[in-house]
């Protein structure tokens, strides 16, 4: 997983709430067995018409935001299906940060495992950022994971919470299975004992 320290980038404003993972990556692309190549299908049904023409007014089709690595959206971003393809698609498209008032739990976990930093700001702060990104040409934000801050060069400054362990993993780009296997001895011991609980066996 790619480590994350600080990022300065233009910002794509997605002024919608409850953006579900069915929208982030529609189901027809979930049949693939690969882990890469989902960026082309990010927000597929919002980016293009059924006839395959780009929807001009959709934010990701707006040339102003073509190099945006930061996405700002309304509350409950990533709700619905557990598909990690949503995180793969965002990452593959080039997003490293999503800012929203709240995120759905499973998406939150999936994003972390793919090096995407999720930043929770207040609804008021998010509305300000959406407005700035829509109205100020070339509007940029700097997200520092080390300092847990979001800043622009016009005086906006907000800080965000992040679990210390998640922060450590993102800063270092650590892989979970490797981390867990540090506890292999405890796991073996627990499992031997736990297997006696026949009422918790699958078969």
């Amino acid at each position: 997983m790619e480590a994350f320290k600080t990022l300065t980038s233009t910002v794509a404003p997605l002024d919608r709430t409850n953006v579900d993972t069915d929208q982030i990556i529609p189901k027809q692309f979930l049949k693939r067995i690969e882990r890469t190549g989902y960026g082309d299908f990010l927000f597929f049904d919002w980016r293009q018409t059924p006839e395959g023409k780009p929807v001009a007014e959709f934010v990701l089709n707006d040339p102003r935001y073509h190099d945006a690595k930061i996405l700002v959206a309304g509350k409950n971003f990533g709700c619905g299906s557990s598909r990690e393809h949503a995180a793969w698609a965002l990452s593959d498209f080039g997003f490293r940060v999503v800012i929203a008032p709240t995120f759905a739990d499973i998406f939150f976990s999936n994003a972390g495992k793919n090096g995407i930093v999720l930043v929770r700001l207040s609804e008021g702060e998010v509305e300000t950022l959406l407005r700035n990104a829509e109205t100020i040409p070339g509007y940029k934000l700097t997200v520092s994971l080390q300092d847990q801050t979001v800043t622009d060069d016009r005086g906006f400054k907000a800080s965000f919470e992040v679990d210390p362990f998640r922060k450590y993993c993102l800063l270092e780009g650590l892989d979970d299975i490797g981390l867990t296997l540090r506890h292999a001895a405890e796991l073996d011991k627990y499992e031997t004992q736990h297997d006696h609980a026949t009422w918790l066996q699958a078969k």
Partner: protein
């Protein structure tokens, strides 16, 4: 000696703590992982690349459900080559890693959240995961069951554990007697409508109260299934005599002395009197009615007797925009009575409402009636066992005589990853769990309802208040 009273969730959690490293998430042992074709190929590939094995094939079970066509011809020759490849990849992965697979032609194939319980694999007190958000279904048995992403699927395959931060606890008590015509589906739609689609984010919900206890296991599964639609990590219901009666004698349930021991252990799980929850909500069952969703998020629900609400009622700008966008997508105008909305399609099935009791309830409504001439209505059993049971009871005949299309088991039109999809603009009364834009097919419009309401809509051609329905023939179960 006094001990601190504990919740059902806390008891299950504590029994599964492998290690609590300082400053890190708890490492939680996972008793059972369910696997399906869509969210697993990249996980198995990860194992291969790292030279890892499946740690506990005996705690791993696979089936195919999302992609499989629901007609016999469709299943014999899967036309969608990408879907076929995904299914054959699962087959290969299960063979390579020693995982039991309930394949397309198995007599026990079905939706992953239907077969786990009906085979007695799902048990009270277990920790259960699956790369599918509706894993919360299994919480109906007093298991801690939640959906995970593919990286986590790989993690569990490799280690049989997951690093987890402890969620908060949220008890929702539904007290009193459910009015006639009001189902488990209506309870959960009412809860989501009340607390919102992020109302339980970061929480494990325990559903309690006399109305919940009065429900069958099928009804309890419907409720726990949609916990995720309220943002919850999981939903749980304390195991009781109803739970034990359901599990007794199932294929993988303990037998003989082991059964008695199991019941003894499972009986210790219910929340102790006086245990504290982070949040509490009580709902009076008598206030509940049949609901219909009108928008593109499961929180957008209203009583069938009401009308499409006005976006002007939304709290802030962003909410109002989402509200307006939902109405535009759904092609609905504020003030339209919900029972005047005509449907083109009806879907009865899914991991929410594809169990035998759901089919019995729908059949009772359908018996002696005919599906409206402008409606195409499908009934898709949740599993082969559900299908066989329904056919034994003659439910398939009732549906067919009424003009319903009787199909083979699978996820079907719940998520449109198989040939069962809505055409653009089509409007569907659906017993599934999500009314997201395009969920059932691009441009399709989904209204979430109970099986009874869906069957009635198929016959009337529009939504109707099921409480006024004329039941024509007794269905013998």
């Amino acid at each position: 000696m006094s001990t601190t009273p504990k919740t059902l969730f806390e008891k299950v959690w504590e029994q599964h703590v492998v290690v609590e490293p300082k400053g890190e998430p708890t490492l939680l042992y996972i008793d059972l992982q369910l696997v399906h074709e869509v969210t697993s190929p990249q996980a198995f590939e990860g194992l291969r690349l790292a030279g890892r094995k499946v740690r506990r094939p005996d705690r791993t079970i696979a089936t195919v459900d999302h992609n499989v066509p629901t007609t016999i011809e469709g299943r014999l020759n899967i036309v969608d080559q990408i879907a076929a490849k995904q299914i054959s990849t699962l087959r290969q992965n299960c063979a390579d890693f020693g995982v039991e697979l309930y394949d397309v032609n198995s007599r026990e194939q079905g939706i992953v959240h239907v077969i786990g319980p009906e085979l007695g694999i799902t048990k009270p007190g277990m920790t259960i995961v699956c790369g599918d958000s509706h894993t919360s279904t299994h919480g109906a048995f007093g298991a801690l069951a939640f959906g995970i992403g593919t990286s986590e699927v790989e993690h569990v395959l490799a280690t049989q554990t997951l690093p987890q931060s402890k969620p908060q606890t949220f008890r929702i008590s539904v007290e009193g007697k459910l009015p006639q015509g009001v189902t488990a589906k209506d309870i959960i739609l009412a809860i989501i409508g009340k607390i919102g689609t992020d109302g339980a984010t970061g929480c494990v919900i325990e559903y309690a109260g006399s109305a919940i206890r009065s429900l069958s296991m099928e009804g309890r599964m419907t409720i726990c299934n949609m916990s995720i639609e309220a943002g919850a990590r999981a939903g749980m219901i304390a195991p009781d005599e109803t739970t034990f009666a359901y599990l007794k004698g199932r294929r993988f349930s303990p037998q003989g002395a082991a059964w008695d021991k199991a019941v003894e252990e499972w009986s210790k799980l219910p929340t102790d009197p006086g245990a504290k929850f982070d949040r509490e909500l009580t709902i009076d069952a008598a206030t509940l009615v049949p609901y219909v969703s009108w928008g593109t998020s499961p929180g957008m629900v209203a009583p069938v007797t009401s009308s499409v609400p006005d976006p002007a009622a939304a709290g802030n700008d962003l909410d109002r925009k989402s509200f307006e966008r939902a109405l535009e997508y759904m092609d609905l105008k504020p003030g339209t009575p919900l029972d005047k909305i005509a449907v083109d399609r009806v879907f009865i099935g899914s991991c929410t409402n594809g169990r035998i009791e759901d089919l019995r309830a729908a059949a009772k409504i359908a018996a002696g009636h005919k599906v409206s001439t402008h409606v195409h209505a499908m009934v898709v059993p949740g599993s082969q066992l559900v299908k066989a049971q329904a056919e034994k009871e003659g439910l398939d005949q009732i549906f067919k005589e009424a003009g319903f299309d009787w199909r083979e088991p699978g996820c079907s039109m719940c998520l449109g990853m198989n040939p069962d999809i809505l055409a653009p603009g089509e409007r569907c009364a659906s017993t599934s769990n999500r009314n997201f834009e395009g969920r059932q097919g691009r441009g399709g419009r989904t209204h979430l309802v109970s099986p009874e309401m869906a069957a009635a809509a198929a016959i009337a051609g529009h939504f109707v208040d099921i409480r006024n329905w004329e039941v024509r023939e007794e269905v013998k179960a």
